[in-house]
Symmetry: C2
Amino acid sequence: MKIITVSREFGSGGRELGKRLSDILGFDYYDREIITAIAKNSSLDESFVDYALEQQPVQVFTTNLRCSFATAPAVHSIQPSLLLEQKKVIDSIAAKGRDCVIVGRNADVLLQDYEPFNIFVCADMESRIERCLSRASGDESRQRRDIVRNIRRIDKVRARTRELISGSDWGDRGQYHLTVNTSGWDIRELAPAVADFAGKWFGRAK
Amino acid sequence: MKIITVSREFGSGGRELGKRLSDILGFDYYDREIITAIAKNSSLDESFVDYALEQQPVQVFTTNLRCSFATAPAVHSIQPSLLLEQKKVIDSIAAKGRDCVIVGRNADVLLQDYEPFNIFVCADMESRIERCLSRASGDESRQRRDIVRNIRRIDKVRARTRELISGSDWGDRGQYHLTVNTSGWDIRELAPAVADFAGKWFGRAK
């Protein structure tokens, strides 16, 4: 079984790259499907699960006085169980034994026993803003501020979650087989190059 | 003109990868040739130039009391002019207008106006030690200690030199198009994958 994991900076095009890789290689693809499964198994609303997993993780018993009391305590108390459920969902994907691409969710760490091919996707800030802007509508200068804030916030959450799960640095080059900078690329042109690369990794002499 | 630059952690196989890339693509190859040219232009011994450029760079006027007084002051006082000469040699390589691969020497920064394809090569510590050991002979346990010390020292010099030249972090993913982890690869199998990748970059729609 061949597993490709795609970790990525927010707005770098990692999700699109992952989808295209799965199309080119004929692999199963997992991204939103993981959130859907966590929500179903936990009897929670999908958008709540998504929201909860996008908040800065705190260690249990840590008091964060600056949080919004309306929602944050509920999120923080449920986050550990959602992360556990996420692990179960990802384990069950691997247990199917089918070739697949998994985007995000620290699947590279959770599935390390399966020896996945691990990709990290990054891009310069301007490319990331442009990518996010192309999906948005309305007042551009306001959007730009919001997007930059969102990029910084989500990157921070991803880094912190990874640290909690694996004790290792998010994006550290030593943890991935390939780190791809998508700045200046059309992902449609980049994807076949990455697919060839991954194919050669799986086919190499060991 | 197509330029590929290869920056690398010591012992990661970056030099071999660069050489193989040049063979596959039919590009000129520059590595030791740069040291030879600096030595010639400066009327200095090649091994001295090599040694001097492998010492921790210090900013002029910094006093390093722990240095060996026999050699270090000479090295430190000549290092800035060697780095300047190195820049001239690398500029003259680019001025030839021929496709080439340049290993090390911060060529990615020095030649950024030529829009090179920039690769960073890394590997886990054990792979790097193994690679260095395969080139050495004698008592293995002593060699291993020396190799680890050398890896740490040279990586530190490369990081510091880059910081002085460009003000940027050595190995930072955002500065390279592709970061390749050679652990688990035979460079002979990896090189064609990287060559294809670079070829697609040069051939992409802009």
